[in-house]
């Protein structure tokens, strides 16, 4: 018997008028993982997280969190999920101490020591008004609220957007620590894949409202190959492999291939791709031209 996934969705969909924000999304993220939710802006990452957090009502499909059906009115389940919105909403008129009190009064499992320690380490003064803090400090307060709730499932939407590189690394460290100490599951959405690559061990690629790929990072990397050569012709590849995307830089062509049996007959160079290369390949291969451009802007292009 497989253990209960931390987050499970079955054909989850959300439609806004005529536009599908998320369509037929089926996922099962095991507990204790840091899962990267990658995709360009507008791919449906935020909508997916908001549905998991119970904010947005799905148009169709099912959500189970730690084996329990998602219901907006389920108070216990609300306590299981820590959610950090993309906008990192806080009451700007509150002091930091008041913001923590807000968290304490609205969350049964609140860990005051953890919140205080987190903010102490960052030297964020408790008496300061939220509105007077820098964007990065506000993001840290919002994160402290999520962490002090001690949720078994943490959903973070672009958590590192306002953070400087050092703070980003600290955040990733904190998340890793929480996963190791408490066995929590983190689902982390970002279009900056380089952030995710260092910590995640599970990957979900979302593009144009659909899940393009989901799986353990190791397995994803092991089943993909980047073929570098002077041509994009793929004869000689095993018949059970699929070309995901290919791109040309100068005279060189890089082709991302998903394989089921080892590639032995390829004339050029065969290398194991990085997470970034896999993500970019899927975004190139499946989404519209405009979105690819956006993704490139966010990701920095293929590095080969």
């Amino acid at each position: 018997m497989t253990p209960t996934p931390a987050v499970e969705t079955v054909e989850l969909s959300k439609r806004y008028r005529r536009r599908w924000a998320v369509r037929d999304c089926t996922l099962a993220i095991p507990t204790g993982r840091i899962a990267a939710l990658a995709g360009p802006n507008g791919a449906g990452k935020s909508t997916l997280l908001r549905m998991l957090a119970g904010l947005t009502t799905p148009t169709g499909g099912e959500i189970r969190v730690l084996g329990r059906d998602r219901e907006t009115s389920d108070q216990e389940l609300l306590g299981w999920i820590g959610y950090l919105d993309q906008e990192r909403p806080l009451y700007r008129g509150f002091s930091v101490a008041e913001m923590l009190r807000y968290g304490r009064e609205t969350n049964p499992g609140w860990d005051d020591d953890r919140a205080h320690k987190y903010l102490d380490d960052l030297a964020i003064p408790l008496a300061a008004r939220i509105g007077k803090l820098s964007g990065g400090q506000q993001a840290q307060v919002a994160l402290a609220l999520c962490l002090a709730k001690r949720p078994p499932v943490l959903l973070l939407d672009e958590p590192s957007g306002a953070l400087d590189p050092v703070a980003r690394e600290d955040l990733m460290h904190v998340l890793l620590q929480a996963v190791v100490d408490d066995g929590i599951t983190v689902l982390l959405a970002s279009h900056a894949i380089s952030d995710l690559a260092a910590v995640c061990d599970y990957v979900v690629i979302l593009s144009a409202a659909r899940v393009q790929l989901a799986g353990e990072l190791e397995r994803v990397l092991a089943t993909h190959r980047l073929l570098i050569g002077s041509t994009d012709r793929t004869f000689g590849l095993p018949s059970d492999s699929t070309v995901v995307a290919s791109s040309r830089t100068g005279r060189q062509v890089s082709t991302l291939v998903r394989m089921r049996s080892p590639i032995e007959t390829w004339a050029g160079e065969v290398i194991e791709p990085t997470l970034e290369e896999v993500v970019l390949g899927y975004l190139r291969g499946r989404s519209a031209h405009v979105e690819v451009q956006r993704a490139q802007a966010g990701v920095g292009g293929m590095t080969s």
């Binding site: 908001r50 957090a53 119970g54 904010l55 947005t56 009502t57 907006t72 009115s73 389920d74 108070q75 609300l78 306590g79 999920i81 820590g82 959610y83 919105d85 906008e87 909403p89 806080l90 009451y91 700007r92 008129g93 509150f94 008041e98 009190r101 807000y102 968290g103 009064e105 609205t106 969350n107 049964p108 499992g109 609140w110 919002a142 609220l145 709730k149």
Partner: protein
């Protein structure tokens, strides 16, 4: 949770309480001044307008930003992902907001009550049988418990519209016509009949002082035994036979000064009827009208609490 409900709407709650205190000071100053000078003045039209507007301002001022203010600060996604359901969250906010609305409008109510009594007691003493003061519409709706009912209703309208419109300013603006229509509807069409009116009849067409000073709803000449017009007839319809009788009496006894009414009404099997709400119905009517507005408020708040889970984040 009370702290959270208070802290997230502290500004409007403090402004509301401040406004109520300011009005209280104004009422106390004018009321006390009146007592000293022994000159009694009743509400001016301006005073009445202010007192009409206050329950709406208090109610909408607290109600409109209660949900919509969270959208305005974009904090609803924070509030709705903490460890409590939206219904619990809204329930607490409504409870704290409603308490402040009741305190503010209750303070106003007790002061206008005292103010009106300060006038009506000497007035009553002076005018002998003069009894009716607070039953008349301009005094009725600025005194008593109805003020609290109006304020709670405006509060509920503000909360519901705020959840639907998501902008506090627009919700407030949209609430004003809703409040005015509800008030006019009740005052003009429903209040007169909430309690069966008192009936005064005679044959002389002279109205007793106690009735004169009450809230007269209708009067007219009707068939003997009836206290309201026959269906399809108006209060003003006077049978032709009655006009014939009175002109006959007048031409027969031109100088006598005899009023023809008792005779002519009797021979035509008619009588004069006045429907009115006496001062003694004041608290009955206050209670009934307050009940209507409080019930409407509870209904609106209940629907909003039920519907809040469907609101987009």
């Amino acid at each position: 949770m009370i702290w959270v409900a208070w802290r997230t709407q502290r500004l409007q709650l403090l402004v509301t309480l401040g406004l109520a205190l300011l009005l209280a000071l104004w009422l106390a100053a004018t009321g006390l001044g009146m007592g000293h000078s022994q000159t009694w003045k009743y509400w001016t039209d301006g005073d009445v307008l202010v007192l009409y507007a206050v329950p709406a301002i208090v109610g909408l001022g607290v109600g409109a930003p209660l949900v919509a203010g969270e959208f305005d600060r974009r904090t609803q996604r924070l509030a709705w992902t903490q460890g409590m359901t939206r219904r619990q969250w809204l329930g607490w906010k409504i409870a704290v907001g409603a308490v402040v609305v009741v305190i503010a409008s209750g303070l106003l109510s007790s002061l206008t009550q005292w103010w009106t009594d300060a006038i009506s007691i000497p007035l009553r003493a002076n005018a002998g049988g003069f009894t009716g003061v607070k039953i008349l519409p301009t005094a009725f709706d600025v005194t008593g418990t109805v003020i609290i009912g109006y304020a709670l209703f405006a509060f509920a309208v503000g909360v519901a519209l705020g959840a639907a419109i998501r902008r506090p300013g627009w919700a407030f603006a949209a609430g004003v016509p809703v409040f005015i229509v509800a008030r006019l509807l009740i005052q003009l069409d429903i209040r007169p009949h909430l309690i069966a009116p008192a009936i005064y009849t005679n044959l002389t067409l002279v109205i007793a002082t106690k009735v004169q000073s009450a809230w007269i709803l209708a009067s007219g000449i009707l068939p003997a035994g009836r206290t309201s017009p026959l269906p399809g007839h108006s209060w003003n319809a006077v049978p032709r036979s009655l006009s014939a009788c009175t002109s006959a009496v007048k031409s027969t006894f031109p100088q006598s000064g005899i009023t023809p009414w008792p005779h002519c009404l009797t021979v035509n099997h008619l009588h004069y009827v006045v429907q009115y709400q006496p001062e003694s119905h004041y608290w009955l009517l206050q209670g009934a009208e307050t009940g209507i507005f409080v019930a409407a408020a509870l209904l609106l708040l209940g629907l909003t609490v039920l519907g809040i889970r469907r609101v987009a984040p």
